[in-house]
């Protein structure tokens, strides 16, 4: 335990990242105990009240308690990001390993699709996909929509890492020891990539959250859910900035900022673990 604390002192980025995300986690957990999340639904409380003792974050035009909305919505937004990121990196990892280790036609196809997919503006594709889905989206469907593109970048970067790793001496030694392809991928290559995969995952989650908020702000998200992005959609819809209802957009903005800063610092911190050359000297 002591050595964990010592490491956190040497890796300030990781510490700050974890701290910010921990603050958010506390906010959500304690919030759930103190606030009735039903109040995140429209017509629960008097509308357009500025922050006060009863309603610390104020209320919006449809009568939602904004504190309840934040407490209920933050985990939803994070869940979308996390599920999409996980699916994306999961698929990306499998495709990257298969392509990079076996090379040949399969690799050319995988790489080609990823490369072409990356040149098409992602948000545009997502909008098209979201618009084509009949009816309103649920939070889970949102995650899958975002995941459909989230695998492109991880595939490319993980493939590059595997390409370099497969030339290492220990891979040849493993072949000489009679190990087969899948065995080498799982037992020799994968363990060395775990820090890199973790960093890629955090990156992907970050990107997924951004994409989902983007879609929601445009009104293509799950209309009924009190997610952070949807809140911003209503802010726009009701011209809250012009009307001076500052509390309405301050809360989601601060929380979104915290999420992104936390994930950013976490990525930088994980990068340092993954790439020993970035480590500061003791």
């Amino acid at each position: 335990m002591h050595s964990v604390f010592r490491y956190l002192r040497r890796n300030p980025s990781l510490t700050i990242g974890i701290a910010l995300l921990a603050v958010l986690a506390m906010f959500v957990i304690i919030g759930h105990l103190l606030v009735d999340t039903e109040d995140a639904r429209p017509l629960s409380v008097p509308a357009l009240r500025p922050p006060s003792g009863d309603y610390p974050f104020g209320t919006d035009r449809q009568g939602r308690d904004l504190l309840a909305v934040m407490v209920a919505g933050t985990p939803l937004t994070l869940r979308i990001g996390f599920v999409a990121g996980l699916l994306g990196v999961g698929l990306g990892t499998v495709l990257a390993f298969i392509g990079a280790y076996y090379r040949g036609l399969l690799d050319t196809i995988i790489r080609g699709v990823a490369d072409i997919g990356l040149t098409v503006p992602g948000l545009l594709l997502l909008i098209i996909i979201a618009v084509s889905i009949k009816g309103t989206l649920t939070v889970n469907q949102m995650a899958i929509v975002v995941a459909s593109l989230a695998w492109l970048y991880p595939t490319r970067t993980i493939r590059a890492q595997v390409l370099s790793l497969r030339e290492r001496g220990y891979v040849e030694v493993a072949r000489l020891s009679g190990m087969s392809g899948p065995g080498i991928i799982f037992f020799e290559l994968m363990p060395n990539l775990l820090p890199y995969l973790a960093a890629t995952l955090v990156n992907a989650v970050s990107a997924a959250i951004l994409a989902s908020i983007g879609l929601e702000v445009l009104g293509l998200g799950p209309i009924d859910a009190p997610t952070l992005g949807m809140t911003l959609y209503w802010v726009n819809f009701n011209a809250a900035m012009i009307n001076g209802w500052w509390w309405w957009w301050t809360a989601p903005t601060v929380i979104i900022l915290t999420v992104f800063l936390g994930l950013f610092f976490l990525t930088v911190g994980l990068d340092e673990i993954a790439n020993p050359r970035l480590r500061r000297s003791a």
Binding site: R168, G169, Y170, E172, V173, A174, R175, L176, S177, G178, M179, E188, P191, N192
Partner: protein, 337 residues
């Protein structure tokens, strides 16, 4: 009985890229290694000579562009699964870099336990541990000082000896050692090479010792193959080739080795002509012609065949054209003990 490993006219050429010529990594070469007559054969050459390419071809880690490498009579590329496993059991390797060959994620036990597991060398965990301990002791290491450590906790010499122990575990018939001691301290080299030689003398394991260091090759091997720019320059019994070299390149190589003698004649001997370019020559003649003090127009016409100047010696130089040429360039007999 079919020989253990046979290279039949193998050559390797790397395709060039856009607008670049292809590179010849190894010119057609034939040799044979029998398991009944264990011996140490040295393959000596500088960088770019093709010695590492030859090692990789014989280990099945690379495919020849032409010719075949056969294991017990069967082409390596066409082995069935069980034959392939048998091949991996019979032919093992020790590589140059004692660090890259270890997966940094695992302790060094991993590199020893994997072959035991894959080849089912032990019936139980206890037997496996005993097998590994025995192999470590055979190379002069104490198991309690090695097992349980991570690669970075051992010295380069220890790591390299663990690799030799690993090669030993399978009781192979042939170990291909590619520069096994060049990244190890001088004082330790003799010890490691000594243990390799013991493998041949006491355990009947043949060794293919690939190196650029002619002196250690002289001390440890029975036969020697000298490569220059992908071609065989000279081959034969090591005593003869080193003490009475016949190919101009071998002579140059030997004179270029600085000796720990009081006589200081090494620096003054540097009057060789620079090689025409740093890449492999693709001219039709002898590949050494541009640096050879004895070259004449004959040398530029065609690459010389391997001429058998002694029962156990072959030289690729037109000077010896009056001797019989090796049929098919087959070095089998010349290199055998």
């Amino acid at each position: 009985m079919a020989p253990l490993i046979e290279a039949v006219d193998v050559s390797k050429r790397f395709a060039g890229g856009l607008g670049r010529e292809s590179t010849l990594a190894l010119a057609p070469l034939s040799l044979v290694i029998h398991s009944e007559r264990p011996a140490v054969t040295a393959v000596v050459g500088e960088s770019g000579s093709g010695k590492t390419t030859l090692a990789r071809l014989l280990l099945g880690l690379a495919e020849p562009t032409a010719g075949e490498v056969r294991y017990r009579g069967n082409d390596l590329r066409k082995l069935r699964r069980d034959e392939r496993l048998a091949f991996r059991r019979d032919v093992q390797a020790v590589f140059q870099d004692p660090y890259g060959v270890y997966n940094p994620f695992y302790r060094v036990d991993h590199v020893l336990a994997t072959p035991v597991r894959r080849f089912r060398l032990a019936a139980s965990r206890a037997k496996a541990r005993e097998l590994i301990a025995e192999a470590l002791r055979a190379v002069g290491l104490r198991p309690e000082e090695i097992l349980g450590r991570f690669p970075h906790q051992l010295s380069g010499g220890q790591r390299q000896r663990v690799m030799v122990a690993r090669a030993l575990l399978l009781k192979p018939k042939l170990i291909v050692a590619d520069e096994p001691v060049s990244m190890v301290d001088a004082s330790l080299r003799a010890t490691i090479l000594g243990s390799l030689r013991k493998l041949t003398d006491e355990h009947g394991i043949s060794i293919l010792y690939i190196t650029h260091d002619l002196a250690t090759a002289y001390q440890v091997s029975d036969s020697i193959l000298v490569l220059y720019r992908a071609h065989v320059a000279e081959a034969g019994a090591v005593e003869r080739v080193v003490t009475a070299p016949q190919h101009p390149y071998t002579q140059l190589l030997i004179s270029a080795i600085p000796r720990a003698h009081v006589a200081r004649d090494w620096l003054v001997k540097d009057e060789t002509r620079q090689a025409a370019s740093a890449t492999v020559a693709t001219t039709e003649g002898c590949c050494f012609a541009d640096r050879c003090p004895l070259a004449d127009t004959n040398c530029l016409l065609a690459p010389p065949s391997l001429y058998r100047t002694e029962p156990r010696r072959a030289v690729a130089c037109v000077q010896f054209g009056d001797h019989p040429a090796l049929p098919g360039g087959d070095l089998g007999e010349v290199l055998s003990v």
